[in-house]
Symmetry: C2
């Protein structure tokens, strides 16, 4: 066992090649043990064990700086930089984080950002007249993102040392898409020799390494370009999932997986049997596509968000388009399709649609083209990593004219809104898919949502009105019940349904027999839904309390803790109500 | 005169080549007459007269659809599609707009979007099983933008007709930057023959046309690929500013210009002599760069925003970096530089920083790196075109944790904030540069802004408090005065200074002797600064009125009209105050 003695990259440098090869096996063992227990990015990390060892062997981190683009390929790096036990025990995030180690330089999770960030480190080094190697380690899937391209185009004119390691494992999250991947294949097939070369076309120096899982080859390659005086791309060909047969065979499943049985490759829990909005949406869209050949679903490299796996993608055929990691294009593309008179549906994770603010505003909503977005994993119940938070969407969606942002609260309402959203031709529509589980309807469901910004009273009451939006609707129900238990007051419950506007008529009407309005939203309070209600009542005697999340980055959180910290439990809210109204 | 008989592209098709050449001269005459009188994009449009004529001669618009990327190159297109007189009389916008003509398909203004939008039209056509040519007309400057790249990468796998005309005039707004431009040069120099070809590397078919200002050559080229069954790039080499010597000699000035004297090329008004925040910022930064070699200014292709022309750029040397149209990269690059311990300053137009929401959130603020952004032309006093509106920034900047967004109200305060922002190392800072003119200070200026979210009372009063942010501070002064004139009440005036937080202490303190708080912000009300104040007072007896802009797209507006429509004149606000307080 060598791995137990490696507490920093320095320890690695003392080993022989044979010993490094043993280390790579030991790292793989750790990866599989940990990931089968806790889940995580399996394939990407198994593929880059050797490259990571070779980089740390050749370069002098942290003087030389390695920036892991997307950073979900950093597990071996974490193991080698003094965080082995923390990694094994799942005590740290699956991404780089400077607070964890001097060998990390950025908290990163969204892909395609590493080249630009590293380019900044290199420029800073040059301004300070320091010497070091700056290395951006980029997965091939990340190259479809516009930011990666902007970075490469600019690195080219940096005029000083920068090393871009392109880890080409021939896969993004699902298959790789886009014209660039043809060129990567040509480069692999010609051993890097073919004249037409994307990287050289951007003015970059280039080197190809076909044996990207061979430590001596990689060491030789890295040594040959260490301290280079200009930017260079090292294109290394690796095997995603190397060392674990199931991950090689099913690259998509093992890109990121839940805990699994190492012997069988099967998930410990069969999530496909649990009802989810992902599965419901996929089924629904496939059915609709058969009825309507002018309906198309777009994904930006995450088809699993609607449970579109190989079988469903095949079934959808040309009515499904994976643009790769390219959220800007996805929105503009959807807008163009809608302009042509077809219906484009773009299911996307909240944390990634953040990349498309300008495209939503200009390409889509300024043109008022009726595309439909389905926003998954929004709010606190989304992804609990600091780099993938999903609760900043309400302010930015709600700042965009013409956008209709709907917040269903249960299965039947979601499906009705989906149905309506597909028919809608007057506006772009986005639906904030609940992330807190699939609840059944507890009130009658409308099928037409064209009368915008009409809230619904779902429980009549007096004195206090609780406006509970989207995935906090169930919290609203629970507040109402707790309040009645404690005080006997039957409060009014309102499902606002629309996040992008306010129901002036209803809000005016409830002035008559209410003193206090509570707003609940599963997102940051600042700039959110509730503050508009407070503003509406600004000139009246109505008291308003806005509940939601503080504006802050939180990492690896537990939902229950965050709810409590933000006074978002029914007990706390009832306490506040009693205190305000002196009950 | 042929041009007077051309009311649609159909009329063009009846003409001979010789007659088309005459038309091109007539169009240039119109362009110069109109642009010298009203200002606008001179060089880009003079360069594409022939290409536009040839496209409309060969293709059948609007069945065939031409999408003008950025669309500020569409003037000839407007003249040829029935809008000649409206164009001459400046009755329409300088961008395409489907409400103006069936020959326009999108309202577009931000560059790099055309390929993706056109790709959507093409996909929609295919789903509908229709036949037509879809043409994206893209300027070379637009190719540095990530969205353009994402589009090209995806067009490549479309599998059906799409024609991308790349208008290569060797210039973006200032010089072209980035590695790609080396490849464009190689392609020009090899007459399109060199093996290493950016477009082919993305899997696209390719054709080069060296005589991009020659109508017969262009017609032949377009005819040869009309109805092509796969995507192709036609790279045409044109002369920016063709036909007007001053525009050829000074491409940067004539990219977009104020009204000018045709004979001399001089602006009718010498704006360089009028004090502006642009000039003040440029001077200040140059001075600071000399003191601090680790200070760098970044631009995304608009160095003129800080009056950095050729001379200033030369003076700044390596302390100035133009990333091209690449706002995503610019933010990540600035973050990396700050992480390396240098100070990066990124002056940018509000309408373009919208492209970087995710980069601001993840690359910059999640990492809490102390870069400094200067946001120009924000608010109503920015750019009055629907595609370049600048008043959506407050909700999105304010949704981002760690970001400090400052709103100076006068010259001295701006300079003090700039000075502080350069020294600040705890947070990313953005300054919303006033766009309503340079006002002198009317109160003492602080030099330290590290006590975040501390508002300042600039005029003591009672009963009513006016919180007047940024470029609406002067409106606040005027409201206070009008109110005193009308009612005798001396109201309190508050300069909040910080848009990203609320001064709880001050807001609490004024409860004692105030009944009404007015907020004024030069941006949309929804999700903005004022609503947070309304929320703060939600549980109290304080009345709050939020003033700002309705959330809507407005085009070619007059500031005074919009102010009135939004009840943003002092008279209207005083009326509202009197009505609420029954004065």
């Amino acid at each position: 066992m060598y791995i137990e003695k490696i507490n920093s990259p320095e320890d690695l440098k003392k080993l022989s090649i044979d010993q490094l090869n043993v280390v790579s096996e030991e790292v793989r063992h750790i990866l599989l043990q940990k990931l089968s227990k806790y889940g995580g990015h399996v394939g990407p990390n198994l593929g880059v064990v050797e490259a990571t060892i070779a980089m740390h062997y050749v370069f002098n981190s942290p003087i030389d700086k390695i920036v892991f683009d997307v950073s979900h390929q950093c597990y071996t790096h974490k193991i080698l930089t003094g965080r082995r036990d923390a990694f094994i025990n799942n005590q740290e995030s699956g991404y780089t984080n400077p607070r964890e180690s001097e060998h990390d330089f950025f908290i990163m999770g969204h892909t395609s950002t590493g080249v630009s960030l590293a380019c900044g480190l290199a420029k800073g080094r040059d301004l300070k007249k320091e010497k070091s190697n700056i290395i951006a380690f980029v997965g091939d899937g990340a190259l479809s993102g516009g930011e990666a391209y902007e970075g490469l185009d600019n690195v080219s004119i940096l005029g000083s040392n920068m090393i871009i390691v392109v880890n080409d494992n021939q896969w993004s999250i699902a298959e790789d898409h886009g014209g660039l991947y043809k060129n990567l294949r040509q480069l692999r097939e010609s051993n890097g020799e073919c004249e037409c070369n994307f990287f050289r076309a951007l003015g970059l120096d280039y080197m190809y390494v076909s044996e990207g899982n061979d430590i001596p080859t990689l060491i030789k390659a890295f040594e040959s370009i260490k301290d280079i005086d200009h930017p260079i791309v090292i294109h290394i060909h690796t095997l995603k999932g190397k060392g674990y047969e199931f991950a090689i065979k099913d690259e998509e499943k093992f890109h990121w997986t839940f805990p699994f049985n190492i012997e069988t490759g099967e998930n410990l829990i069969d999530y496909s049997k649990i009802e989810s909005y992902n599965g419901l949406t996929g089924e629904y869209l496939l059915k609709k596509m058969k009825e309507n050949p002018e309906l198309i679903a777009i994904t930006s490299a995450t088809p699993s968000v609607i449970s579109f796996f190989a079988e469903q993608r095949k079934e959808a055929g040309k009515q499904f388009f994976d643009v790769g990691i390219a959220e800007e294009h996805a929105v503009a593309f959807a807008s163009g399709i809608a302009k042509a008179g077809c219906k484009s549906v773009y299911p996307v994770y909240e944390t990634f649609i953040q990349r498309s603010f300008d495209q939503l505003l200009e390409d889509l909503c300024l043109n008022n083209n009726p595309a439909l977005l389905l926003v998954f994993a929004a709010g606190l119940y989304g992804i609990p990593d600091a780099s993938h938070l999903g609760f900043f969407d309400i302010p930015f969606f709600c700042a965009i004219p013409n956008m209709v942002y709907l917040a269903p609260v249960c299965k039947e309402e979601y499906l009705a809104m989906l149905e309506w959203g597909i028919k809608e031709i007057s506006h772009p529509v986005a639906i904030r898919v609940p992330a807190n589980g699939v609840f059944p309807a507890s009130f009658p469901i409308d099928d037409d949502y064209s009368r915008l910004n009409t809230f619904r009273v779902t429980k009549d009451g007096t004195k206090i009105a609780v406006i509970a939006a989207g995935s906090f609707y169930q919290l609203g129900e629970s507040v109402i019940n707790a309040l009645e238990d404690k005080t006997g007051i039957k409060a009014t419950l309102i499902n606002p349904r629309y996040l992008t506007g306010v129901d002036n008529v209803l809000l005016d009407a409830i002035k008559a027999n209410h003193q206090l309005v509570i707003t609940l939203e599963d997102g940051i309070i600042d700039g959110g839904f509730g503050e508009r209600i407070a503003s509406f009542y600004g000139d009246s005697d109505m008291k308003v309390l806005n509940y939601g999340l503080k504006k802050e980055f939180i990492d690896r959180y537990k939902v229950a803790d965050v709810l409590k910290d933000n006074r978002l439990t029914d007990i706390q809210i009832v306490e506040d109500i009693c205190s305000i109204l002196k009950l």
